[in-house]
């Protein structure tokens, strides 16, 4: 028997309302990368919270053995001392502090009465080297890209005695190139004997990285297998408990010759006068899905936020919506023109989490549920129910706070909100980020329905297969400019990546 560095046996965790974990068994061998897969709400995060002491011993039943010794953590500190480090999806760095301060925050070095900065800086450089970062430790963390911050988090975990490194959706916000760096680093760490638990929705990464895969579904362990015995399809089947015949339900559909959006020589500056996107030319036809690919920071979101009127700053060029030249100064103007923008960050820009579902869905088209300028609750609920049913929202009541819904259902509320206003142009910015496979599929289906009704859709996505799988036409951006355009037929991952990294431009 190979030795297990971690064994979790018969873990059951009940919340007042639901059994989140039901007799879960999870064993990780020393020095392996062990992927933990499952749909949202399958219990992955709960299991990791049990392991890391967020849920203290006694609030769950079952046993945790670390290196064969029984462990019962009362808090996160205790689990850290035992060598368990967890890096969450939402990074826990202090943006206004320097790299060095972040690395050693809470470390003994920071606890002495007089802090020995020289030693901290020296150690910081060493820690950064370990993760392949060549940065000045006195730099502020807020100046780093998300990808670098992720690596910094790992470096921070490694400054302590870490036996088990848990990464929760580490690549959700990373660009392809950052992902490559991360994967290289994890391979490196594996050689050094660090055990890693890798939670991810991105099965491509799982297949590339993991030695074994444990799949959870509805709070139960479905299987633990060595990676040789698995394929991506098998993992999906086990996760959802059903066969997904196709990942991307692209349908051939009619595309009109009419432009719903035509952008010519568009250049936009931010508040401080810096060019954000320059000389953009493109069109979106009625009933067409135009994919926008590119690396993080390529200016895709910025372009559309700017077009949508959500960014202050100077703009140049012409914008035609439905063959009419428009000047959009604010989101309100854009909404009036039939423009809809589903943001990449639904919690921050899409939803009022403390409000119920019905109120969130009617936020934009509130006039549709008013009689004589008075909100009619009856009408509001009827209209909201109609649209959310269409979106296949799973919630028996519409007066549940949106914050209590899963990511996929939250995204459906955002979609409902915008679609209620009958948009002619729908911008979907990372519409499936952090959403489980089943909900993703439903969102793709909704896109299909909309284009059939003649809506023009822009799909911004960092997941190449998604862009390639769903778009009629693909545009690639790099550093604020459009660097490539492909039809559905000619596009390949390689060609798109080439343009996204600016390779084509420099030829």
């Amino acid at each position: 028997m190979t030795e297990y560095v971690l064994e979790m046996k018969g873990i059951t965790k009940e919340f007042p309302s639901v059994k989140a974990l039901d007799n879960v068994t999870f064993s990780v061998r020393k020095g392996e990368i062990h992927a933990l897969c499952g749909e949202n709400g399958a219990g992955k995060s709960t299991l990791m919270k049990v392991l890391s002491g967020v849920y203290p011993a006694g609030t769950y039943s079952g046993k945790i053995l670390i290196k064969g010794k029984e462990a019962s953590f009362k808090n996160i500190k205790e689990s850290q001392d035992a060598g368990v480090a967890i890096i969450y999806q939402e990074l826990a760095l202090v943006g206004e502090m320097t790299i060095a301060e972040n690395l050693f925050l809470g470390h003994d070095l920071m606890r002495s009465a007089v802090i020995n900065w020289n030693e901290i800086y020296k150690k910081s450089v060493v820690a950064l080297e370990k993760v392949g970062l060549d940065l000045d430790p006195q730099m502020k963390v807020s100046e780093l890209t998300v990808g670098k911050q992720q690596l910094l988090e790992i470096a921070k975990a490694l400054t302590k005695e870490t036996d088990i490194l848990i990464l929760d959706e580490p690549t959700a916000a990373l660009t392809e190139s950052d992902v490559a760096v991360l994967i290289k680093l994890l391979n490196e760490l594996r050689k050094q004997g660090v055990t890693c638990i890798y939670i991810s929705h991105k099965l491509g990464e799982v297949m590339e990285l993991a030695d074994s895969v444990t799949i959870l579904r509805d709070g139960q362990t479905i299987s633990t297998n060595s990676i040789e015995y698995l394929t991506e399809e098998m993992i999906i089947t086990k996760m959802v408990g059903r066969e997904l015949t196709e990942l991307f339900p692209y349908e051939v559909h009619e595309i009109s010759d009419d432009n719903v959006l035509l952008v010519e020589n568009y250049t936009s500056y931010n508040k401080s006068g810096k060019k954000v996107v320059s000389n953009i030319n493109f069109n979106v036809k009625k009933g067409e899905i135009v994919g926008f690919s590119g690396l993080m920071g390529a200016g895709r979101s910025e372009l559309f936020i700017s077009l949508f009127g959500g960014m202050p700053g100077k703009k140049e060029g012409a914008v035609k919506l439905n063959n009419k030249t428009v000047t959009i100064k604010s989101p309100a103007d854009a909404i009036k023109e039939g423009f809809a923008y589903v943001s990449e960050d639904r919690k921050r820009y899409g939803l009022v989490l403390g409000m119920d579902i019905a109120k969130n869905t009617t936020l934009i088209a509130l006039n549709k549920v008013m009689k004589l300028n008075v909100i009619s609750q009856a009408l509001e609920v009827r209209v909201a129910e109609e649209i959310t049913t269409k979106m296949k929202l799973k919630a028996p009541n519409l007066d549940i706070e949106v914050g209590k819904l899963s990511g996929g259902n939250q995204q459906k509320v955002v979609l409902s909100k915008w679609i209620m206003n009958n948009p002619k142009l729908l911008i979907l910015d990372e519409p499936t980020r952090g959403i489980d496979v089943g909900a993703k599929y439903e969102i793709y289906k909704i896109m299909n329905e909309l284009v059939q009704q003649g809506v023009g859709i822009v799909l911004i996505s960092s997941e190449l297969p998604e862009v390639l799988g769903m778009s009629d036409r693909i545009l690639v951006m790099c550093e604020g400019e459009i660097t490539g355009e492909f039809t559905r037929e000619e596009a390949t991952q390689e060609k798109v990546m080439m343009c996204a990294t600016g390779g084509k431009k420099r030829d």
């Binding site: 007042p16 009036k336 409000m355 109120k359």
Partner: protein, 384 residues
Amino acid sequence: MINEQTIKKESKLSFKFDLQSYTLILALIFIAIIFTFFTGGEFLSSRNISNLFTQMSIIAVLAVGMTLVIVAGHIDLSVGSIVGVTGGIAAMLQVWQGWSTPVVVLAAIIIGGLIGLWQGWWVAYRAVPAFIVTLGGMLIFRGVLIGLSDGQTISSLNPSFKQIGNSYLPFIPGYIIAAIAVILMITFTVNSRRKRKEMGLLLLPSVIDYGKVTVYSVVLVVITYMLNRYLGIPIPFLIVVVIALVFMFITTKTAFGRRIYAIGGNPEAAALSGINIKRNTLYVFVSMGALAGVAGVLLTARLNAATVSAGNSYELDAIAACVIGGTSLMGGKGKIFGAIIGALIMASIDNGMSMMNIGAYWQYIVKGLILILAVWVDIISKNK
């Protein structure tokens, strides 16, 4: 993913949360029992209840406006000074200039609104934090009051002005209003239950819904009876009821109200949903200012005088009333009804403790502790 079972349980939870808001009323009852015990029943006498409702009215009016401000994610520290300055100007216009009561009242409310416009402009269009703008306003308008009145107390207003703060609704109209209110409550409940059922919304057990109506009706009738046993329903209290109803309507049934909750709940999402944050924020401050004008009129009328210290520290009582009433200082959450109950709790403590002849300093201490307690209860109930 939330499955059916989770959600069903969740609904039960939200019902429990509702109970949490009844704890407010339970707290009020508890306070009433304690004071009744220690004052030998005097606290619940007709005369004292009448006093209590008159006393609470000014803070209640301010708390209504403050609820909007806090829900929108801001704060207003200047309302005490606005009460002072608008009440003072009203007195000056009448006593020194001889203006008639209706004109004076209107002037006070308009001046309050203009002050709100000024402060709202700084907050909304100049992005200065409301805390700072209204802290400044607190000093500015107190200064204006002292300057205009030359530090004097202005007294002896027209009888018609005094009546606003010191008269009562006769018995018969009082009972008629109470009866209408009971009938309206019953119809509303029946209607809303029917609609909710039709739409498959969460339906509380009928015992609870109708029980609530019964309790409210009984309370209403008993209060009207008690007030009528003394001199009738105090006019200031009636004004509070009207204002509260108007603002309940605004917060729950109008686009403006809905937008305030959205702005306070998530300003970034609200902005991207096409909501004009600046303009709506401005309106919130204007309404706060105008309500402070109403409170100024009530105070001057009740005291039959305007002093330079009128309204001192009322902002804190109003904020406390909102917070005790369940309004979240994070914005996006809060109810007018809660604020009214909060104001009643604050007034009960003042009133009860002075009846017990406890030193005034204790009132500050107890109110402060209750404020902390209220927020703590709110926090633990959310963490559960």
